[in-house]
Amino acid sequence: MTQQEYNGIMVIAEQKDGKVHPVAFELLGKARKLVEKKPQGVMGLVLGPETLDAKNLIEGGADRVFHVTSEIFNLPDELIYKENILPIIREIKPAIVLIGATTFGRSLAPRIAAALDTGLTADCTDLQIDDDGKLVQIRPAFTENILAHIKTKTYPQMATIRYREFSRPDLDPERKGEIILREPSVTSQNRVEILEEVTRQKTNIAEAEIVVAGGRGLKNAPDFITLQELADLLGGTVGATRDVVDAGFISKAHQVGYSGHRVKPLLYIACGISGAPQHKAGMKESETIIAINTDPSAPIFSIADIGIVGDWAEVIPRLLEKLKQ
């Protein structure tokens, strides 16, 4: 495998029911910046129903979009996705393949990388092009205490990238590009049956602009009703620490942190949260952080813009009262 044979950046865009996940646009925007340093094309690859508007991907930054059309891609079937993606990568030979680090992306990308027997870097937060034209993949490690800069010897250089690390480009309706429609090469497999969609998450905390979060300082499930009231008032979502999720006060969909969701809202209000490293890993990049904690030495105060030493059960109802006026 030589570098010359492999060209351009391919973004594999995740979609469901014809709707493309926003991380794909962030990656297209970033890919455009990366190719400035080394002029090569940006390509999109999307597998989805015919109704999906692949033109959006061109408006977002792709020069060429491969659209494999089938309703079958409305099911999260890694094996069928893989069989349809591999022939395109083998034919087009992109130098770089980027995939959003969603749950599906992180389940699918390793299968593709292993099938191509190339390297894969997980959950990156930044990308650069080095002087030798190779991709530098930057990812946090050791509970986000360090950043590892990783390069890949094999081609394509593959990485999954976190949602909300790069800004979303404005769609440019004037941008021109080519849409290449493909028939799926494989539409069934008999090893995993997808029986049904059980739940669709209503709370998409990863996208929330405001998060009102509670920890062990809350004593029971009904305590979360007060936080919900504030969240509703502000147009936000309720978050939680792992400890209260484990205690059954609130569902896992609300968990913020290392093993929960990573959030980056405009405002994060932490109520009765100590600020353990695993919790901070999921919220420390919030634009503004307000912390309310009875213990003046709680570590959460060290990353808060405004800290209030006090009982959340007193502060929050008073805040609600003021905001309602």
Binding site: K16, P110, F142, N145, I146, V192, G235, I308, V315, K322
Partner: protein, 269 residues
């Protein structure tokens, strides 16, 4: 049913010290433990064995001291342990790790099910499970949160995917990666603790694989991704004003102002 559980020994992350000026990790500052997510993988295996019978093999790649981790796995319900340990395996990225684990699983065959944790707390990639499945040419289901039914030929599970959850039935042989939500790992039982002290942990070194693994495919040599540099993330600057309990009125005024500024247009009132 023969189940292989993938287990990694990891540093106790709460205790690892960092020299944030030099960017070095002092691994010796902390002890080691079983990767917490792998305890859920092992518990899943024990529950399946209780239902349909069979044998559980704990498999780990790591330094010789990881033998202790496999003994703990036996104390928690595994029947035996295999440790892949050799200087040639060292320095492996997820590709080299998965490739080596896949060749070891083939050697330990026949098997019906492979269970991995969702991720490791030190590597944190969540890649080794699906990559191992591909190198074994078996299907996988990732992020499993619930085990509904297990039989000798299939497994019915619920998994977290696409911001929701799906029920899937996988025909065996296959691999699953499990999340923390799937179960509460039980504590070691007394009779298993006794067994864990006596059981022989198989040690496989590179020579065990003379027929199906070349030195270029494992360890540092078999790792296409390489860390070129470590940097320290810039500290997040916060103005950080902390109000004491006596200043609550002032604090309330300050946060009310922020809330009004940031309020999302969709908000009520």
């Amino acid at each position: 049913m023969r189940i292989i559980v993938l287990i990694k020994q990891v540093p106790e992350m709460d205790r690892v010290k960092f020299d944030s000026e030099k960017g070095v990790i002092d691994r010796k500052s902390a002890g080691v433990e079983i990767n917490p997510f792998d305890l859920n993988a092992l518990e899943t295996a024990v529950q399946i064995k209780e239902q349909v019978g069979g044998e559980i093999i704990a498999l780990s790649m790591g330094p010789p001291r990881a033998e202790k981790t496999l003994r703990e796995a036996v104390a928690r319900g595994a029947d035996r342990g295999i440790l892949l340990s050799d200087g040639k395996f060292a320095g492996a990225d997820t590709r080299a790790t998965s490739f080596t684990l896949a060749r070891a699983i083939e050697k330990a065959a026949p098997f019906d099910l492979v269970i991995a944790g969702e991720m490791t707390v030190d590597g944190d990639t969540a890649q080794v499970g699906p990559q191992t499945a591909e190198y074994l040419d078996i299907p996988h289901v990732a992020y499993v949160t619930d085990l509904e039914e297990a039989s000798d030929s299939s497994l019915t599970v619920t998994c977290n995917i696409w911001e929701g959850s799906y029920r899937k039935r996988m025909h065996l042989p296959g691999l699953i990666t499990v999340t923390k939500d799937i179960n509460f790992p039980r504590l070691p039982e007394l009779k298993n603790k006794m067994k864990s002290r006596e059981v022989e942990i198989c040690r496989w070194d590179f020579s065990t694989f003379s027929d199906n693994l070349s030195p270029e495919q494992t360890g540092l040599k078999g790792s296409p991704t390489q860390v070129k540099k470590i940097t320290i993330p810039p500290p997040i600057e916060r103005k950080g004003q902390v109000f004491s309990p006596e200043e609550t009125d002032e604090a309330l005024a300050a946060i009310e102002k922020i809330c009004r500024e940031k309020r999302v247009s969709g908000g009520q009132s």
